[in-house]
């Protein structure tokens, strides 16, 4: 077997690169963090694209199972929460090409009457007022609570003046939530492909993260939809806009970012252990 010294130019290049980073006592001298970068961009991008496509293909293959699982979760949650109506299945499509059966409920929530609107107004004002008690390190939470109150106040105004124009029914909303969640699930392998798979982690870790996030969403999506249905059954349609705008897709993204942040903290095979953590 040819040694790197007498072998190919690529082997010699690799040896020189290794020697350039070797210390006097045989250890490795890492470049300063200001100069660190990832090698092999082309190979990594190709691997990342392939892994992302495998993830999407895996998700597509599991769609029939997903529809069945969601229906089962809906039935369990429906019985547990004591919601009116029954769980039925509807056919739905994503991008007009991907078809699956998703569950929904037969009951439709009612628009708020005068009493419900008054209660919502008092609750919103109370929440807004209480946000001013959140001080010091809780200021970001105060901002979020005020944003919540603002969104809820738009719903109150809307249902006070134009309730007949509200374009959503609960049964369709639930289907829409599951459809949107499915789009998010489909995007996850692609987003991870170009933001996570590029890094120096084993293929097992990359696939583990993907499966964990998709698995989490597969369970979380129907449960969240049923939680929305339950809250709407209690609070009428006046709570639906806030649930959709503040606790729908945004919540899924928060979950994704949390998983991503955790996975990005996993150790790298390429760089040494952290210096500052």
């Amino acid at each position: 077997m040819a040694s790197p010294v007498t072998g190919s130019a690529a082997a010699r290049e690799g040896l020189l690169r290794t020697l350039a980073r070797r210390g006097a006592r045989g250890g490795t001298i890492d470049p300063h963090r200001a100069m660190l970068k990832l090698p092999d961009a082309g190979r990594r991008l190709a691997m990342a694209s392939t892994t992302a496509l495998i993830g999407v293909a895996g998700l597509l293959a599991s769609l029939p199972l997903l529809g069945t699982a969601w229906t089962w979760i809906f039935r369990q949650a429906h019985a547990f929460l004591g919601l009116p109506g029954t769980v039925v299945q509807r056919s739905a499509s994503v991008l007009g090409r991907i078809h699956l059966t998703v569950p929904t409920l037969t009951f439709d929530a009612i628009p708020p009457d005068g009493t419900a609107l008054l209660a919502a107004t008092i609750a919103t004002l109370a929440v807004f007022g209480l946000s001013f008690a959140l001080r010091g390190p809780l200021i970001p939470l105060a901002y979020f609570v005020r944003a919540l109150a603002l969104v809820q106040s738009t719903a109150i105004v809307y249902f006070r003046f134009w309730p007949e124009y509200f374009p959503y029914r609960l049964s369709e909303y639930l289907v829409g939530q599951l459809q949107a969640g499915l789009v998010v699930m489909g995007l996850i392998p692609l987003v991870l492909g170009f933001t996570f798979y590029l890094f120096d982690l084993s293929l097992i870790r990359k696939l583990t993260l993907t499966v964990m996030i998709l698995g989490h969403l597969a369970i979380f999506l129907p449960l969240l939809a049923m939680m929305h249905a339950y809250l709407v059954s209690l609070g009428t349609l006046v709570v639906l806009p806030t649930l959709f705008l503040m606790f729908g897709l945004l919540l899924h993204v928060m979950v994704f970012v949390a998983f991503y942040g955790w996975a990005m903290s996993w150790p790298s095979a390429l760089w040494q252990e952290p210096r500052r953590s």
């Binding site: 200001a34 970001p140 969104v151 933001t195 705008l245 993204v253 994704f256 955790w262 990005m264 210096r275």
Partner: protein, 426 residues
């Protein structure tokens, strides 16, 4: 009605998409591109005389630590003088400076301002005429430079095209609160990825005014410091760029700073930055566009995006308002799934590029455990979004009324916390 909502919303989504793509390009460049640090190897040279200018207003908690660090710098002592501009301090800053001037005659030169326009830009403008060295470094009073930093920041000035240089800012009080940890992540993304990628791509690295320097002849050529600039660093960056000077960033030149430890201070700081940046946007957008024949188009484009960074906040809020209104009238399904995805992405995953950038920077920094705080950045972004929007609206109203903005100083923490003035660094 729906079309009336959709058109402006799509314009905003488009603008946000440009910034998102920019984040991805910068991060991928930082990860895989050639890291351009052309001056970092200069270790031996005929080092030129240098003046370090430190504007200071009520800095008794930090100024001694700063001066000790500068006096211990690895730079020929006879070629390094420190001018501290005591800008009407009412605490013990004057006494500390006079003591240092007595102990280090000719090296520490305090300049006590008792009148004139307040603020850093005015202080620099008033003092720059008295400085005779070709290289002028500017630090904030809470910064703690390492011994080798001065040479690193001076080295780029051997290149006659360089008008200004900027080093990397690293928070030293990061373990104080959740906010300081979040700001450490933000700073990491901003410098380790954003600034370095701009340097790699030959775009517009920003002279940040706190750990950097300017060439005196370049400063004079562009008219000196402008006393009315709310962000004298951004103002100087653009005047130099438009005049054809190079602004360079040195990622290896790290300097420690204090970041705000509580939210009210952070909100005041970001509002001040927003006002300064917006002022620069109004001042330089057109001159920059006119420079397109002299400057590379990529520089002009990146310069415009950088100028608009703080204007995106109010735009985002308008976008959220439009998206909410569209929700109530019902999204027109006949437009197809792509616009729905565009709006949904804008509202959610579109901004993920910023998380990618921050996580990458922290990973490059070897601070991987800190990346677990990533979801909390959402709250930081929310506070910034609202603060920047409030600052922008207030600024517009003040400008219409002809009112003048007053300078707000960032609170300091060192020594008040019993760490001996060096921020806990041994």
């Amino acid at each position: 009605m729906r079309t009336a909502l959709l058109v402006p919303l799509f314009i905003i989504v488009g603008i946000v998409a440009v910034y998102t793509i920019r984040h991805y390009i910068f991060t991928l460049n930082r990860l895989f591109g050639t890291q351009r640090q052309p001056y970092v190897d200069i270790g031996t040279a005929q080092w030129p005389p240098v003046t370090i200018v430190v504007p200071a207003h009520n800095e008794e908690r930090v100024i001694a630590g700063m001066l000790d660090a500068l006096l211990g710098a690895d730079y020929p002592a006879d070629r390094l003088s420190i001018v501290v501009i005591n800008d009407r301090s009412t605490d013990g800053t004057k006494a500390i400076l006079d003591d240092y001037a007595r102990r280090f005659p000719g090296r520490v030169k305090p300049r006590h301002r008792t009148g004139g326009r307040p603020g850093k830009a005015a202080a620099l403008a008033e003092t720059s005429g008295e400085i005779e060295t070709e290289v002028i470094l500017v630090f904030d009073a809470d910064y703690l430079p390492g011994a080798g930093l001065i040479k690193q920041l001076v080295a780029p000035f051997f290149d006659p095209e360089v008008g200004a240089v900027m080093g990397r800012v690293v928070p030293l009080n990061l373990s104080r609160t959740l906010l300081t940890r979040l700001l450490d992540l933000e700073r990491s993304g901003g410098y380790q990825v954003d600034q370095q990628a701009r340097m790699n791509l030959g775009l517009v690295p920003q002279y940040g005014g706190t750990v950097g320097g300017v060439r005196r002849s370049a400063l004079e050529a562009v008219g000196g410091w402008h006393a009315d600039a709310l962000a004298e660093d951004t103002d100087m960056t653009y005047r130099l760029i438009v005049a054809g000077w190079q602004v360079v960033y040195q990622n290896r030149s790290e300097c420690y700073e204090e970041v705000p430890e509580n939210w009210p201070t952070r909100i005041r700081q970001i509002k001040r930055w927003a006002r300064g940046h917006n002022q620069a946007l109004a001042t330089f957008a057109w001159p920059l566009l006119k420079s397109v024949r002299r400057l590379p188009a990529s520089v002009v484009f990146d310069g415009l995006l950088l100028l608009g960074v703080f204007a995106v906040g109010p735009l985002l809020l308008v976008g959220f308002g439009l998206a909410t209104a569209l929700y109530y009238v019902g999204f027109p399904v006949e437009y197809g799934i792509l616009p729905v995805l565009g709006v949904a992405t804008y509202s959610t995953l579109g901004n993920f590029a910023a998380f990618f950038e921050v996580a990458t920077a922290a990973r490059l920094d070897g601070s991987r455990n800190r990346i677990r705080l990533l979801p909390f950045l959402m709250f930081g972004f929310l506070v910034s979004l609202i603060s920047v929007s409030v600052a922008t609206v207030t600024q517009m109203v003040q400008s219409l009324r002809g009112e003048e903005h007053h300078w707000e100083k960032t609170e300091r923490y060192r020594n008040g916390n019993g760490d001996g003035g060096n921020g806990g660094i041994p």
